[in-house]
């Protein structure tokens, strides 16, 4: 089952911890907000992804299994 990182933009206030902890998939935009690289997260990077999620002070970073196609 493949994992997917998502940011809830309503909660994110640009602490930037995630990009520090998981630079393999997270960079920051010109205003300090995370940009997620949507490529698949290979098993050897999963621990880094989970650490980034756990470190987010506003719980804005979410790790979930890749969503199936939705009707809308």
């Amino acid at each position: 089952m493949s994992l997917e990182l998502t940011v809830n933009p309503l909660l994110c206030v640009a602490h930037g911890m995630c990009a520090e902890l998981f630079p393999e998939r997270i960079s920051l935009d010109d205003w300090g907000y995370p940009i997620i690289d949507k490529r698949e997260i290979p098993p050897h990077l999963e621990a880094h992804a989970r650490r980034a999620v756990a470190a987010c002070p506003t719980l804005a970073l979410i790790l979930r299994t890749r969503a199936e196609a939705r009707p809308a």
Binding site: V7, N8, P9, L10, L11, C12, V13, A14, D29, D30, W31, G32, Y33, I35, A67, R70, P71, A72
Partner: protein, 429 residues
Amino acid sequence: MARAANHDLHRTVSPPAPGALPRLLPDPPASRLVDHLARLGPVPDRVEHLAAAVGEAGLRGRGGAGFPTSVKMAAVAKGRRTFVVANGTEGEPASAKDKTLLAVSPHLVLDGAVLAARAVGAREVYVCVERGASRTVEAVQLALDERLAARIDPVELTLALTPNRYVAGEESALVHWLNGGEAKPTFVPPRPFERGVEGRPTLVDNVETLAHIGLIGRFGAGWWRSVGTAEDPGSALVTVSGGVARPGVYEVPLGTGLAAVLASAGAAPEATRAVLMGGYFGTWIAGAAVPQVSLGAASLARAGTSFGCGAIAVLPAKVCPLVEAARVARWLADQNAGQCGPCMFGLPAIADAMDALVRGEKSGNAERALARWTGMVKGRGACKHPDGAARFVESSVRVFADEVALHRRRGPCARTAPLLPVPAGGGWR
């Protein structure tokens, strides 16, 4: 109400001639129930085939996204204790078709809402109108009073007067507001068809979409498809504004040539610099390209645009497109809900860069920044506001590249009177 004797309310009438218009905007208006029923007759008693008929008709949402209506209906119909929301908020400054439709044919919209409610098993319908649109609010209130007195509806209809904000009409924002919150978009999924009003599956449809359902429910998919083309069936409302002799709302068959629509509104082709298709989230079509474009999905896609909400703003040659684009970009920045960082900081930065282009900044920094930031903000908000604003700015810089170069060479132009409207915003509740 003396004229609306009981037999009048139930007398069926033969459908308007196939292929004939108007369907949605009768002249004279049918704002009174008695006139509406004399024209179209009552809605049918049976709705079990409605979703299939709407699918067969090929009706797509007319609020801007163009999603197939029957798919959304089917998804909501699976739920229990569902709701219907008739979205007539129309915060788009270049569009007036929903307000006009609700003022001219409120009962056709309400018929469609009631049919849709019965089809998805909803007992309650919220009819949402922007509270600043006083003429429309009056017409809808009167129509609701008439229906209550005539006892024709098996579902409860409630008028809800929404805040005057651009993003307040976005479906998740509207649902959040109906649930007692601010009219600001929420993080999706779940989308309203999954969890909407009171957390229940909710069908949010644009009021024009519902009016079409009011027609399909009565006269069927075949009749409905007798206007338009096989690929783009039906009629649609368009709002033509800006540099034309007869601005207003027109009902046209889909697939009609853009030039013909502009001609009926009295645009002068040789004096038309460009056309903004789809409102402030839309894209520009250069005047020279207008003759090749028709109001069908494929043709509009080839022109790099889409039908959107049917707003068509005409930019005359004598107006500076860059000044207009910069003003709209600033307004879009001001309309952000202050929720998501990339939108909150990105759109004002983009608007600043557009102002730099208008000033004729020579370094080229503003153009590079625009290319970077428009790409950066897309897909990064809870709603599509940053995407729409970025699309508008990208299109402006691309279609008016000659104007950007001219400003860089010669500095700011002699400004003309503002053309595209930028209304003041209200609160969020």
